[in-house]
């Protein structure tokens, strides 16, 4: 087990390295660079500005400089904002994590409940309804849902705020945050909740059909115990697997939500940095997200093996 963990950890390093190269090159394919934004006023000075920003050096030199900084924990400086990348990204990363965590919890609670309910009452009205709703859920375009929710609840009904994490005037209280989190979380959680609901249902169904469940039931155990103590436990591995995968989807889906609701997270910043050709920011962003993503997947794999050693990984 330990050897497996170490093995996986070691494999992460070349992956992240490759990721850094890929993103470095990708950004530089883009026409126009950050110097252009500063050079609008005096186009003749474009080269001077480029020199000042260090963008005139050959690409491998630029990479080398950046990588060297990376090894020292320095992600470089944002060109647009003249601040160290890490200083900008970390607080925004926290904001995205808040959104992701909130959405994730919502997705799990709704997904698991609906899935279990559906499975235990298969073919009932509730089940059919749930299947219909989840069908729409997995097919939902998040950006459209966000717009509709915003229009309905923030504008028409004025029940909920339309943008940002906190009200700019009020204090940064927990309730303020929760209030602002509702619509974005629903938007981001819609698809994952539906996917989780479906896998929960199918996994539960498969487990319930097994012979040993019938035996336990015949023994006279209350239905509740049958479901929760035995069936659920054995249905868990694929459920956990898929649930964990949703985290990755969440990280991506958060971008649309952040753009629509002006949530000051990392996704919104990515969008802004790509538009501004702020290379260090984009590189830092992608590296950070990939690290996170890879680590989370890794943790889930470990968790899955732990929960059910029968599942053979690789």
């Amino acid at each position: 087990m330990v050897r497996y963990i170490v093995q996986r950890l070691l494999m992460l390093i070349p992956i992240l390295l490759a990721v850094s190269v890929v993103i470095f090159v990708m950004m530089r394919i883009l026409p126009g660079d950050a110097a252009v934004a500063f050079a609008i006023e005096s186009p003749a000075e474009l080269e001077k500005i480029r020199r000042d920003l260090g963008l005139d050096r050959p690409i491998y030199v630029q990479y080398g400089i950046w990588f060297w900084g990376l090894l020292h924990g320095d992600l470089g400086r944002s060109i647009q904002l003249e601040k160290p990348v890490l200083d900008i990204l970390l607080p925004q990363f926290v904001n995205t994590l808040i959104l992701a965590a909130g959405s994730f919890m919502l997705a799990i609670v709704v997904g698991w409940s609906v899935g279990i309910l559906s499975a235990t009452k298969q073919y009932s009205l509730a089940d059919r309804l749930a299947m219909l709703v989840t069908l729409f859920g997995v097919s939902m375009p998040a950006f459209w849902l966000g717009l509709v929710l915003m229009w309905l609840f923030a504008y028409e009904l004025r029940w909920l705020p339309a943008a940002g994490m906190y009200s700019i005037r009020g204090d940064k209280t927990f309730w303020e945050l929760l209030n602002h989190l509702i619509l974005p979380a629903i938007t981001t959680a819609a698809v994952p909740a539906a996917v989780i609901a479906r896998i929960t249902r199918s996994s539960m169904l498969e487990t319930i059909r097994q012979d040993y469940i019938r035996t336990i039931r015949a023994k006279g155990l209350p239905e509740r115990a049958v479901v929760f103590k035995h069936a659920l436990k054995n249905a868990m591995p694929p459920i956990l697997n898929i649930t964990g995968l949703q985290l990755g989807f969440l990280l991506g889906g958060a971008i649309f939500t952040e753009v629509i609701f002006s949530w000051p997270g990392i996704g919104w910043q990515l969008y802004s940095s790509i538009s501004g050709r702020d290379y260090p920011m984009v590189q830092g962003f992608v590296l950070l997200t990939s690290c996170c993503f890879v680590l989370v997947n890794f943790a889930i794999d470990i968790l899955t093996t732990y929960v059910d050693p029968r599942v053979v990984l690789e």
Binding site: L30, L135, S139, W144, L251, G252, Y271
Partner: protein, 307 residues
């Protein structure tokens, strides 16, 4: 591989039975029969055919020129005479734009999936069958792309390649390959170890023969099912990229751009953004239904796992 990504497909457990696909003709007929009787799948299929029909024949069907602005008709609501679904922020007929936009939205979603499916099957087959260092290289390279959440990869690629249909398709194509390859690879591995393959090899069949005659047919089913479901996601993702301004450039219009245009006037004329989104939702639902139906039709064992 334990991971199968955010889809409802679960692979069949390895079995020693010779899979049904190899008894081709009659099997296809049985599969079609199953599909035909599955009402939901049929519905999905019909919806897609309808939308595709509408898009293909847009030049003949659309009541107005999709680029024709009649400024005096700006933001008219659905039901205005001549504008069945209303007019957008420049006075263009929404229905016509949906039809013409469908050409772009559907093509940018379907083409990358087909291309990626083909390439992924090759990758999966080669890696799965030959194993060894080829396997390691291919799969490790794919792992790099797995490190990016798919949407972020698509955004970064689309931004790097500039706007336009080709860039979007390339970005989606690149993002799809790792996922479909994994499915193909897993299926190839499973099939490789089956007895009948052993049998074929001991008969003296060459590697390539085995790949094409024995393994390929068996990975087709999971790949097709997975790809169909992914197409729905790609419709959404392509529209999302256009929505962010990374897709096709105006004045060309696809559903995502229509949504973005409607965003500005959401408080005054919500129909401009709501209607294209609704269509995206329904097309996505249709593909999901189709995917589910295909899965049930092609391999009922899979159905037990999810029904």
């Amino acid at each position: 591989m334990a991971r199968t990504d955010s889809s409802t497909v679960t692979l069949p457990a390895a079995s020693t039975e010779r899979p049904q696909w190899t008894k081709k003709k009659s099997q296809l007929r049985i599969a079609w029969g199953r599909f035909y009787r599955d009402k939901m799948a049929l519905l999905g299929g019909i919806m897609i055919v309808l939308v595709a029909f509408m898009a293909i024949f847009a030049p003949y069907l659309s009541p107005h020129d999709p680029y024709g602005m009649d400024i005096t008709k700006r933001l008219r609501p659905p039901g205005t005479p001549g504008y069945l679904l209303g007019a957008d922020e420049s006075g263009r007929d929404i229905l016509s734009r949906l039809m013409w936009g469908g050409r772009i939205s559907l093509v940018t979603a379907i083409v990358p999936v087909i291309a990626a499916a083909i390439v992924s099957m090759v990758i999966g087959l080669v890696a799965g069958y030959y194993g060894g260092w080829i396997d390691q290289i291919l799969m490790r390279t794919l792992d790099v792309f797995f490190a990016f959440p798919r949407i972020i990869l698509a955004i970064a690629l689309a931004a790097a390649l500039g706007s336009g249909m080709i860039s979007v398709m390339l970005a989606l194509f690149a993002g799809l390959i790792p996922y479909i390859s994994r499915v193909a690879y897993g299926a190839a591995l499973t099939t490789k170890n089956l007895q009948f393959v052993e049998a074929a090899r001991s008969c003296g069949a060459a590697g390539r023969q085995i790949i094409f005659h024995e393994i390929l047919p068996n990975i087709l089913a999971p790949v097709i099912v997975y790809s169909t479901t992914l197409t729905g996601l790609m419709v959404i993702l392509a529209a999302g990229l256009s929505f962010l301004g990374l897709g096709v450039a105006p004045p060309q219009a696809d559903w995502g751009i229509m949504l973005d245009g409607g965003r500005r006037v959401i408080t005054i004329a919500p129909h401009v953004a709501t209607i294209p989104g609704l269509l995206i939702l329904f097309v996505s639902v249709a593909f999901n239904l189709l995917g589910d139906g295909l899965r049930d039709a092609l391999d009922p064992r899979l159905r037990d796992a999810s029904e």
